[in-house]
Every structure is written in C-alpha cells, then in structure tokens.
Amino acid sequence: MSTALVVFVLVLLLPLFLASWRVSLVGLASQGAIMAWLAYDRDGVTTVADGVRLVDLGLVRSLIVPVALYQVMRARGTSARNDVIAPNLVSWTLALTAVLVGFRFAAHMPLPDSERPFVAAAASALLLAMLVLASSERVFSQVVGVFRFENALALFELSRPEPEAEPGFRIGLLVVLAATLGLARWYLRTLTPTGDAPAPEAP
C-alpha cells in the first residue's frame, strides 16, 4: 500500500476521534488533496478528462467544499466542538471495524494487485461515511457524511483507469457535486438556527 493511501486512511479515521468541526473540514480537504495527488501521480494530465478530474479532486473537493462549509459555520458562530459520530467506545470500535471490513473485502475480491489497496481504502471510506450518516443527528455532521460518501465513490473510480473517460461526463459529475455543495450550504444555513442543531434522521 502506498504512503498516500495509508495517509488517506488515517485522514479518514482521525476526524472521527477529534470532536471538532474544523478538523472534519481539514479531513475532507486532505481526502481531496490525496486523491488529486494519486490521480496525478498515476495518469498525469494527458487528456481533457484528466484535467477536469484534477480540478474536481484538487480544487473542488480539497478546497472549495471545505472552505464553503467553513464560511457557513463561521458565519453562524458555531461552537468549536462537533462530534461526527457519538463519542463512545462502541462508535470508535465500529469505525475501526469498518476499516478492517474494507480491507478484508478487498482481500477477498478478484482484483489485480495494483487495485487492491485502492479498493480497500475506498471500501473503508464508504463504510465510514455510512457510519457517519447513520449516527449523525446534526446537519453539519450529515453534510460531512455526504461529502465523505462522495469522496469514497471518487476513490473507487480512481482505483482503475477509465476506458471511456469522456470529458462531458466528468464535467457533469463536477456540476452535480457543485450543486450538491450549494444545496448543502443552503440547508446548513437555513435548516437550524446555528447549523449544528439536531437534523432529521439520515440513513
């Protein structure tokens, strides 16, 4: 497993143990930056589709998403503390188990060796995102869960080169991500007075 993927898994886990919304946003930014590096390191920028993907990962996910959410939280004067999962031993054990399950899953599926670490990290990221979404009562935590989920899907896609990487589709994905961010910001601002009060139950 490459160093970048090891760091990615750490970046997935650490914000779950540190009860701060700023750390959660740094976690999202780091995930985007690492994925951008992984994409650039493997494929470079040889086509328009590669360029759009790099903008998606390196600019939107690692910079625009965290900054946009930071602005809302800052403007609402939210207190520093925020747990994205319940701060207890059961939740932490579930988080670690999710990572283990992700790695066991990749070990058992028929995969070229080069893809196995990517799939392991992506599966872990997906399970952790589901854990965050399932255990969050606060809007902000759910927003973080949604973007963790989106990042996990992006890492799955990154695990192998796409044969039909049309720039049009990549732009479409980018627009959808931007629209999701816009709506998430709007709900974060309007759903609750401080953006950190309990939200409706999520899956």
Partner: protein, 471 residues
C-alpha cells in the same frame, strides 16, 4: 439526428420564466411540448434506434408516455392553483426553472442509453426536486427536503457503485460496456462476485429512490411536507424514471440469477409489510397515500424479482400506479386547500362538499386498492398468478395477507371521508370541472389499461415485457 434530442426542446421555455403570471404557464407550455414530442416518439413512425448516448427503444417509449402525461396533469393543477391563489408559491420563477430542468432531466433518464448519462440525469432530478419540496410557510418541509436529498445522494451513490462493480469485469482487468443496449446483449459470465455485488448494490440504491424498505423513511415525510403538485411529481414521475433504470438493469442477462432476484422479493415483501402497519396507524390522508406508495413499490419489486410472466403485470401495475398516485395526490391538494387540514377525521362528506374531488378520491382509492376494471387490478392479478406459478408460496401468502390488511385499513380511513357526514360546516362555491380535467384524462387511461388497450400501446407493453423475460 436522434429523434430523442427533440425531448430537450422544453429547455427553450426557460427564457419565458420571469414575471410571476408567466411562470406557471411557461411550465405548462414546456410540459405540453414535451408530451407532444414524447407521444410522437412513442406511437409515431419513429425509428427506435439507439446510439452511444440515447435510445428510443420500447422501454423508453412506454415510460416517456407515462411520465410526460403524468407531468402535464401535475403542472396544469399547479397552474390552476397559482391562478386561483396568488399567494401560492407555484408560480415563482425558482419553481418554474427547477420544474423545467426536472422535466428535461427526467426525460433524459428514460431515453439514456449510457449508464453515466442516466445516473447523472437522475441525480439532476433529485437536485432540482429537493428545493421544490421546501415551502416557506412550513418549516418542517426544509427538514423533509434535506432528508430527501441525503437519501437520494446515498441511494444514487450506491447505484453508481453498483454500476462500477458491473463494469469492473473481474481480475482480468477487462471493462464491461457502459451502454445499456450492449449490456442487455452480453451473455452473463459465470461466478463473478463483482457482478453479484453490483446487482445487489443497484437494487439497494435504486430501491432507496423507489422507497423500498429498509431505506424508505424519507418517503412519507417528503410526500407529506411537499406541496401536492411536487408530491405528485415525485410519486408519479420520478418514481417511474427510477423504475426505468431498474428495469434496464434487470434487462441485463443473469441480473436476477444472483442475490438481486431474491433481494427484490425480500425487500418487496418487507416494504409491503411496513406500509400496511403504517397505513393502519396513520390519520393523515397524505401520509396514507405515501405509505400506499411504499406498498406499490413493494408489489413492483416482487414482480421485478420474479420477472418472466410477471413482467407484463408489473408494467401494467407500474403505469397504472403512476396515474393513480397523480390523481390521488392532486385530489388531496384540493382537499387540503379547502379544509386546511390533512387529518382524515376532520374531513367528511366530500362527495357533497366537493363532488369532483370526492369522485376522484373515491375512484382513485378503488384503483389504489386494486379493484376492477382498473389496470392495477389486472397487474396485481398477473403478478400474483406468476408468484403462485413460481412456487414461492410463502411470499404468495405474505403478499395476500398484506394486501388484505392494506385494503381494510385504507377503506376504513378513506371511505368515511367521502361518504361520511360533513364535519366542517361551510358553504363551498360550486366546483368547476376544468381544473379536474387532467385527472379525468389520467383516469380514462387507467380504465383503458384494465379494459382495452389499443394495439399500438399493447405492443409497447409486450415489447418491454419481452425484454424483461416474458414470453
């Protein structure tokens, strides 16, 4: 030029959006143009070809008719509401922009021949629907819209992962095609865990969008909190767009052989059971129909899981239910407008107070419960008969028990609203038939599906059923 590209024409109506009195009309005009194009494509002499992105195959043509006719009914209702009550948000520019974008994206879902295009378009329909659920006067609607959005993102995310797994092609590194028509012609490889996982994730992900258990909890709240027109749009239009994607997945050879077929049966039966319990408990008419929608999703999932001889029944049932839900939710909109309540015990004597609304609620409820002569009756009968023929007697027994419970629970709550004593003494102005005409058109289609289907429509149903394994 692919004739399906004409379905993008309503985007031109975006330029009309602006002043309040024009917005709802722009939406009606866009929907009218779309339904004309869809009808010409569906039953006109249009080459049913497919290119890398778009297709006008039988599945697309059948569902284009369904979603566009249902959408026209919904926007005519919204236009009338905006005309009668100028304080209503139906005529806002935001809703017109979002409505037109939703309409075009939904049509793209139906005609998409590329996995990514279909997925992206369905994502756009969710992103454009979420803000329409929100009503400024109802703070609870924001929470419902957010919940809808989160469940949509998760459901579609799981579906995209399912497609990724299908395209993975195993350890040999080969990629599967991303074209639905090519996938439908590709023989099923044996023993590929990625394929099984892909189909399972697709059933779970698209099942979430359809409101199947276990990820159904967004549906009752969303349908309850959204304006009636938006609820009808989600229930009649978006539901069927999502269904098209699931049908296309099940057209891939071997899709039902693995875990997906069994998962559809189990999720279908679980959804029906959950909905029956909830229908028993609720006192809110909008929630009741929302729970009935979960029931319908369950019946459709069971039919899809069976495939083969149940396919024709599933299609009849799904198309009928699109129209039933549009009729019922729009009627409930009228009830809510007049009585200012959704509580069933506060409403009575509808047939005297609001004769047209009462009539449509009555007929819609009969159709909802699967009475003859509606298409839903025939569809349910065909699914049940396929279930018995397949030897799945446990599912058959569960299906019958849940349907009976739903029947009793719905009748017990809804019929007193129609024939009971008026509970709110008020003098209603005489109802005009004009605002109810779209519902009448949908009702005629509903009865035709149970009694007599013109040959061209029947051929369309049969072609789609054949693509799903029917003989």
């Amino acid at each position: 030029m692919n004739p399906a590209l004409w379905l993008l024409t309503p985007l031109l109506f975006l330029v009309l959006v602006g002043p309040r009195r024009r917005n709802a009309l722009a939406l009606v005009a866009a929907a009218t143009v779309e339904v004309i194009v869809a009808t010409v494509i569906a039953i006109g002499d249009v080459d049913p070809g497919a290119d890398a992105l778009l297709t006008t195959d039988a599945t697309a043509r059948l569902f284009l008719l369904v979603i566009d006719w249902a959408f026209v009914g919904v926007v005519v209702y919204a236009w009338n509401r905006a005309r009668v009550d100028t304080t209503r948000p139906e005529a806002s520019a935001r809703r017109a922009y979002l409505g037109i974008a939703f309409l075009v994206a939904m049509n793209v879902v139906v005609i998409a021949n590329h996995v990514l295009l279909a997925w992206l378009a369905l994502e756009v329909t969710s992103l454009t629907a979420a803000p329409q659920i929100t009503q400024a006067s109802l703070p609870g609607s924001r929470g419902a819209a957010w919940r809808y959005l989160v469940f949509s993102i998760v459901g579609l995310g799981l579906a995209s992962l399912g497609f990724w797994c299908l395209g993975h092609g195993g350890a040999d590194g080969a990629h599967a095609s991303m074209r639905f028509d090519v996938l439908a012609q590709t023989p099923a490889p044996t023993d590929d865990p990625w394929r099984d996982l892909g189909f399972a994730l697709l059933v779970l992900g698209l099942g979430t969008k359809l409101g199947l258990a276990p990820m159904y909890s967004w549906l009752p709240e969303t349908y309850d909190e959204a304006p009636a027109a938006v609820t009808a749009m989600l229930a009649a239009v978006q539901f069927n767009g999502t269904l098209v994607l699931l049908v296309r997945v099940l057209q891939i050879p071997g899709a039902r052989d693995g875990v997906a077929g069994d998962a559809l049966l189990v999720l279908g039966l679980a959804s029906m059971a959950v909905s029956a319990g909830s229908i028993l408990a609720t006192r809110n008419i909008k929630r009741l129909v929302a729970y009935a929608s979960i029931n319908h999703a369950g019946v459709i999932a069971i039919g899809l899981g069976l495939g083969g001889e149940a396919a024709y029944g599933v299609l009849l049932y799904a198309v009928s239910n699109a129209f039933i839900k549009a009729i019922l939710f729009l009627s409930i909109g009228h009830i809510e407008q007049h009585y200012q309540t959704k509580q069933m015990r506060d409403v009575g004597g509808l047939i005297k107070d609001l004769p047209y609304t009462g009539l449509f609620l009555m007929v819609g409820t009969f159709a909802l419960l699967g009475f003859p002569p509606f298409g839903s009756f025939l569809g349910e009968l065909l699914i049940l008969s396929a279930l018995a023929a397949s030897g799945q007697m446990l599912v058959f027994a569960g299906f019958c028990a849940v349907i009976a419970t739903t029947f009793i629970a719905t009748g017990r709550s809804v019929f007193p609203m129609i024939w009971g004593e008026s509970r709110i003494k008020a003098t209603w102005s005489r109802q005009r038939l004009l605002p109810h005409l779209p519902k009448l058109v949908l009702l005629i289609a509903l009865v035709m599906m149970g009694l007599y289907l013109p040959a061209s429509f029947n051929t369309l149903f049969r072609e789609v059923a054949a693509s799903m394994g029917s003989r």
